[in-house]
C-alpha cells in the first residue's frame, strides 16, 4: 500500500519536473532571442538596406518585402479559403466527394513546405515564366496558407449557432443570402483571429520562398510607387528576399563581419512580429468571447 503511494508521488514529481523543463526551454529560447537580439535593433537597422561585405547593414528592404508578400498572399488566399470553407461547412453533404476533398486538404496541410516551394518554383517561376518574384512568392505562400486558413474559417463558421441560419431562412432569405448576410458577419471575429494566426505562420515561412521569391533583395526606390517600374517597392516582378529567408541566407553563406549581430537582430524582429500577431489574435478571440457571453 505504502509502496504504491510512494511510487505515485515519485512519478508525479517526475511529471512536474518534465513540465517545468519545457517551460525552461521556452524561457531560454525567448530569453536568448531577445537578450542577444534586442540590443542590435535600432531605427537604422530596421530601415537600412542590407550589406553583403561590410558591417552596419540593416533589414529595411527585407522587412518591407515580408509585409508586402504577406499582404498579397492574404489577399489571394482569403477569398479562396472563405469560399471553400463556406462550401464545406454549409453546403457539403456527408458523402464520398466531401471526404475526398477533406482528405486532400489534410494532405496539403501536411506537405513539407519545401515541397510546396519546389512546386511553386516549377509552376510559377519556370512554367509561367514569372521568375524569382514577389508574384511567384505570393502564389506559393497562398498554396502553403490555404489548408490551414480554410480549416480556421470553417471552424469559426461552424461555431455560429443554427438558430441564426434558421432565422435567416425563415425570413425568406435564400441559403447563400443567409450565409453572406448572417453567418459570415456572425463568424467574422473568429475569422479575423484565424487570419491573424495564419499571418504569423506565413510571415515566418522561408522554405517555400527560397526558390520562388528568390534570395536577393535589389535596391528599391522608395520614391517610386508605380508597380510597373522594376525598382518600385510595389513591383510584383522583382525578386524579394524576406526577413526569414535573409536569416537563413546569411547564416548559411553570409560573410559580413557583423553576421551574428544582424542575424540575432533579425531573429528578434521576426519573433517580435509573430508575438504581436499571436497576442492580437488571442486578444480578439477574448473580445468575441466576452461579447458572446454578455449578449446571449
Amino acid at each position: 500500500m505504502k509502496d504504491t503511494q510512494l511510487q505515485s508521488k515519485i512519478a508525479i514529481g517526475i511529471l512536474k519536473g518534465i513540465a517545468f523543463s519545457v517551460v525552461l526551454i521556452l524561457a531560454f529560447l525567448i530569453g536568448y532571442i531577445f537578450v542577444t537580439g534586442l540590443p542590435n535593433i535600432s531605427w537604422g537597422f530596421l530601415t537600412r538596406p542590407a550589406r553583403a561585405f561590410q558591417a552596419g547593414g540593416g533589414i529595411g528592404i527585407q522587412l518591407f518585402n515580408s509585409f508586402y508578400l504577406l499582404i498579397l498572399a492574404m489577399l489571394i488566399s482569403i477569398p479562396i479559403a472563405l469560399g471553400a470553407a463556406v462550401y464545406l461547412n454549409e453546403y457539403a453533404k456527408d458523402n464520398l466527394f466531401t471526404s475526398i476533398i477533406r482528405t486532400s486538404i489534410e494532405i496539403l496541410s501536411s506537405l513539407p513546405s519545401v515541397v510546396v516551394g519546389l512546386f511553386g518554383f516549377l509552376l510559377f517561376v519556370i512554367q509561367f515564366g514569372y521568375g524569382f518574384s514577389i508574384l511567384s512568392g505570393a502564389l506559393t505562400l497562398t498554396i502553403f496558407n490555404l489548408p490551414l486558413l480554410t480549416r480556421n474559417i470553417e471552424e469559426s463558421l461552424s461555431s455560429v449557432s443554427d438558430d441564426q441560419r434558421q432565422g435567416g431562412l425563415g425570413l425568406g432569405l435564400s441559403k447563400f443570402e443567409t450565409i453572406v448576410h448572417i453567418v459570415i458577419p456572425a463568424a467574422l471575429p473568429g475569422i479575423i483571429s484565424g487570419v491573424i494566426l495564419c499571418s504569423g505562420r506565413v510571415f515566418g515561412e522561408a522554405a517555400a520562398l527560397i526558390y520562388t521569391a528568390g534570395q536577393s533583395a535589389p535596391a528599391l526606390n522608395f520614391a517610386d510607387w508605380n508597380p510597373f517600374n522594376i525598382d518600385s517597392p510595389l513591383s510584383p516582378l522583382r525578386p524579394a528576399e524576406t526577413l526569414a529567408v535573409h536569416i537563413w541566407k546569411i547564416n548559411s553563406e553570409g560573410i559580413m563581419p557583423d553576421l551574428s549581430q544582424v542575424s540575432s537582430g533579425s531573429s528578434a524582429v521576426l519573433v517580435l512580429a509573430i508575438l504581436i500577431f499571436n497576442l492580437s489574435a488571442r486578444y480578439i478571440g477574448k473580445k468575441i468571447f466576452e461579447k458572446m457571453t454578455s449578449e446571449i
Binding site: 512536474k16 519545457v22 453546403y91 519545401v114 519546389l118 450565409i179 522554405a207 537563413w248 508575438l275
Partner: protein, 312 residues
Amino acid sequence: MNKMQNEKLAKQLMKKSKTARYERFGKAISLLALLLIMVIVIGIIIFVASKGLSTFFKDHVKLSEFFGGTLWNPGTTTPDGKQSVGALPMIVGSFLVTLLAAVVATPFAIGTAVYMTEISPKRGAKILQPVTELLVGIPSVVYGFIGLSVVVPFVRHVFGGSGFGILSGTFVLFVMILPTIVSMTVDSLKSVPGYYRQASLALGATQWQTIFKVVLRAATPGILTAIVFGMARAFGEALAVQMVIGNAALMPHNLVSPASTLTSVLTAGMGNTVMGSLENDALWSLALVLLAMSLFFNLLVHFIGRKGAFKK
C-alpha cells in the same frame, strides 16, 4: 391581350427568380474555390511525381542504385561506371533525425500533457498552454539560428567533432516537434471521459496508477496520432535542419559527423542545377521520396484513427 399577359406571366413563373440565380451563383463560386484546392493538391502530386520519376525512366537509373547506393554526386559516375545518385545517406539521415527526435520528444510531450490535464489543469491552462502555442509560432529559421549559435557549439564542446551532425539536428527538431505532440496529446487526454478516472480512483488506485493504467491506455490511439504528426513535421522540416546538420552527403558514421537529410540536400542543391539534367532530376526524386513519406504519414494517421475508433 389577355393571352399575351398570360404568356408573359407564364414566362416569368417559369424563369428562375433573381434570388435563385444568386443562390446558384454563390454555391458555384464556393464549390469552385474548394475544387481549386483539390486541383492544387493533385497538381503538386502529378508535377513532383513526373519530375521525380524521370530519373528512373529518362535517365535509366535503377531503383536499387537510387535507394541502395551510398555515393551521391549526380552528374559523375561511380568507379564501376554507374551514375552516382545513391540517395541512401540522405534517406538514412532523414529517418535517423526524425526517429531520434520523436524518441526524445515523446516522453517530454506526454509528461507535459499529463501535467496539463491530470495534475494541474489550472496551471496547465494558464502557463503551459501559451508556452506551447508560442513554441509553435517561432519560425523554423529562428530555430535554425539558435541551433547554429547554441546547440552546435554545445555539441562540439561536449561530444567532440565539428558539432554539425545528426545529434544537433535531433536537438533542434526535438524542440520544434515538442509543442505539436503536446497539444495533440492534450486533446486526446481531455477526450477520455471523467468517469474512467473516478472509477479507477474508487477502486483504490493511486493517481499515478490511474494515469498510467487507465487514462494513458484509453488515449493511446490519440497519442500515437500525435507522435506521427510530430514525425511528419520533423521529416519535412528543411531549413532548421539544413543549418545544423553539416550538409555532407555521406553515410552518417556517428551522431556527431556531418550528414544530410533529403530536405537539406534539396534546399542546398536545387539552385545549382539545370532543369532537365540528371543532377536536377535526381533532386526531384528526393522531393518525390519526401512527398511519398508525407502521404504515408497521412495514411498512418487515418489507420490509427480507424483502429482507435473500433475500440470504443
